[in-house]
């Protein structure tokens, strides 16, 4: 089962390519984005180490379970509520970005509402599936999508017209100016370990999630994905020209060509990847969110059935559909920026709390 932990890390790594992360990083390309990326990745890796090692102390238990049994209810409930909201936020941002993209690039005449209904219903159905089955689903989706991503990345890097000088221009800008936005955005890509909050219940055996070489491997992979997310768009569209693209990655992949492929435009391969990863990423995060909500919210009975999760799902649904028609892309981007910045203190706090509980247990 341990390999599923890496899938969770991977899916979060890839979702960063499809949400606002590249856009945020690119907007800071003149003031030391590389340094921020390094700090963000290291921070993410450090948090990953602390969190997983604390969760290992509680094999087979969820975070909600651990926290509410070790802390008084007046702390644990608001805390878990906050965590659940943050998980909801991840899925929310992915979905909103995806609705925009699908409208703009795949089917421009589709009303936002229809797209929102279609995707949100899928994600809610996926979030309601049993946790282990969701992991199997995740594995299958990654199995189909990894080769596609690899193909796109290989095509991007071997493109002879990639402007390496534009990419190199990023380096001298890397002064020690840091921006919280870009640290938050690049840290976010490694936060997949937080999904253990729910999925820890399946990893009940002995052994640890991470050892030093796996950490280094994940760190390198994370760093290279985050770097790729800014390097490829800059190399294709130029460091001065990239900023005007609203969706840097999509416009970038449209500049790649596979002359002998069945589909010549690499854009569509990337869009396929985009759809799959967006949906699965949102599904996994909402599953965790729903799971925590179920643990902390009172059970609401309707005809002898517990309908809490239905109600929460409905709130999720309404949340996405209403904002998808009322907010525009720039407002969404603002929300994303606020979210990523707030993610840094929230995740540090959360990890510290778990670490403290784990320490206390051992003592």
């Amino acid at each position: 089962m341990r390999r599923y932990f890496y899938y969770l890390i991977l899916v979060n790594l890839f979702t960063n390519l499809v949400v606002y992360v590249p856009k945020i990083l690119i907007s800071h390309r003149y003031n030391g984005v590389l340094f921020s990326i390094l700090i963000g990745t290291l921070l993410g890796l450090f948090l990953m180490y602390l969190f997983t090692s604390s969760m290992e102390k509680f094999p087979g238990r969820t975070q909600a379970d651990i926290v509410s049994s070790h802390l008084p209810k007046w702390i644990s409930s608001p805390y878990l509520f906050l965590v659940a909201i943050l998980f909801f936020g991840t899925g929310y941002l992915i979905l909103n970005a995806f609705i925009e993209v699908s409208k703009r690039f795949i089917n421009p005449d589709m009303p936002n509402l229809v797209a929102a209904i279609l995707f949100t219903s899928f994600v809610i159905a996926g979030a309601a599936v049993k946790s282990d089955r969701l992991l199997y689903f995740l594995e299958i989706i990654l199995f189909f999508n990894l080769p596609l991503l690899l193909l796109v990345l290989v095509l991007a890097y071997i493109n002879p017209f990639l402007s390496w000088d534009s990419i190199r221009t990023l380096i001298p800008q890397a002064r020690f100016q840091i921006s919280w936005e870009s640290i938050g955005a690049s840290c976010y890509t490694l936060l997949g370990f937080f999904y253990l909050a729910t999925f820890n219940k399946f990893f009940s055996g002995k052994g640890s999630y991470l050892n030093w070489y796996r950490m280094i491997l994940i760190g390198l992979l994370g760093l290279s994905i985050v770097l790729t997310s800014i390097v490829i768009p800059v190399g294709v569209a130029g460091i001065d020209g990239i900023n005007s693209y609203v969706y840097p990655w999509i416009s970038t992949t449209d500049s790649l060509q596979m002359e002998y492929g069945i589909i010549e435009r690499v854009l569509f391969i990337f869009l396929f990847f985009h759809i799959c990863i967006s949906l699965i990423g949102a599904t996994v995060s909402w599953h965790v969110s729903l799971d925590i909500f179920k643990a902390i919210l009172p059970k609401i009975k309707f005809r002898q059935k517990n309908v809490t999760s239905y109600l929460v799902s409905f709130v999720f649904f309404v949340g996405v559909t209403t904002t998808s028609i009322t907010l525009n892309i720039h407002q969404q981007l603002q929300i994303a920026k606020v979210y990523y910045i707030s993610l840094i203190p929230a995740s540090i706090l959360s990890v510290a709390l778990m670490y403290w509980i784990a320490r206390r247990k051992r003592a």
Binding site: N107, M110, I171
Partner: protein
Amino acid sequence: MKINTLFTSILMLILLSLTLTGCGFKDIDKRNFVLAVGIDPGEKEEYVKVNLKLAIPNAEKTKEVRDFTVITEEAKTIAEAVRIIKSRVDKEIDFGQLKTIILSEELLERDLQSVLDWFIRRRDIQQISYVALSKTDTINILQLSPKGEKIPSNNILLTFSTTGTKSSYVTTVQLYQLRRALVEKGTDPILPIIEIVQEKFRVNKLKIINGEKENMLDLTPEETKLFNSIFNEYKMGTIVIEGKLYFIVALDKMKTSYKLVTNTEKPYIKYDIIMKGFIEESETELKSESLPKYEKVTSKNMEKRVQNLFEKLQEAGVDPFGFGLRYRATHRGSKEEKMEKWNAIYPDIEFRVNVKAEITGTGIIE
């Protein structure tokens, strides 16, 4: 929790959402595919003339499928012209298959970026479309359908893409490359020039544009060939060596790298070229023992020609190789500062070209 009820209700929701749609559905036979676009300056000031080459699909398999029409419209902007054209045709105009964009040379006197803006902004126009320049009205290019062309506008496409012919005279510029070079400070865009000669297309010249300073430079076919072999490290090219010895070297390896040295008193660019090839044709008798001699001759010859090319570019104030961008990539400071410094350096910079030629044989005969 009954998952099935959830699945059912979601299916119902999806079905419900079906009633909301219906738009976006447009059958392929109700679309007019634009295969090429030509942009000319309009008759009126500030107006543009847009020529769209539309394919007419043909149901008859036996007939040669090469029917097309070219529709022309003049308006203040490209978008407006396209909108007017839309009202003139019976089907939806689809730019999804657009692969060729021909710009009129006179258009360069205006701001190229604002002309290209429409192409970049539209989601359905491929960033990998080929862009070329025409000396005459673009409608001539669009209307020419050379013999043997099965699909309208396919000949231009095959000329530029690597699936068709490969020639070192042809410079390939795709939309995103043009746009990048235009916007990027420190590098200047190039555009191939397409002409009609004897009912056929000919692409063997190149134009280099400097967006800000309004400098332009036309390269001759020979220079274009040389430019392509260095700029794209074009492997299939040939080099003609004239002088005491006359022979042609067919390249099968071309590697270039350069170093920008600005901390010395006199800044210079050290340009290294490593090439490998064999002798394809010769007027005098060649001996395989004296290959080193030929190598030396080739190196000297190339060095001189590349040097001349660079100096010509420098003199014209254009920088298609992106030396300025390299300067930006290797120096600290803000974008504007660096560009100012570079603009002062470039006119006086020295080129030190160093060619290492290796000739592997004299072909299959001696």
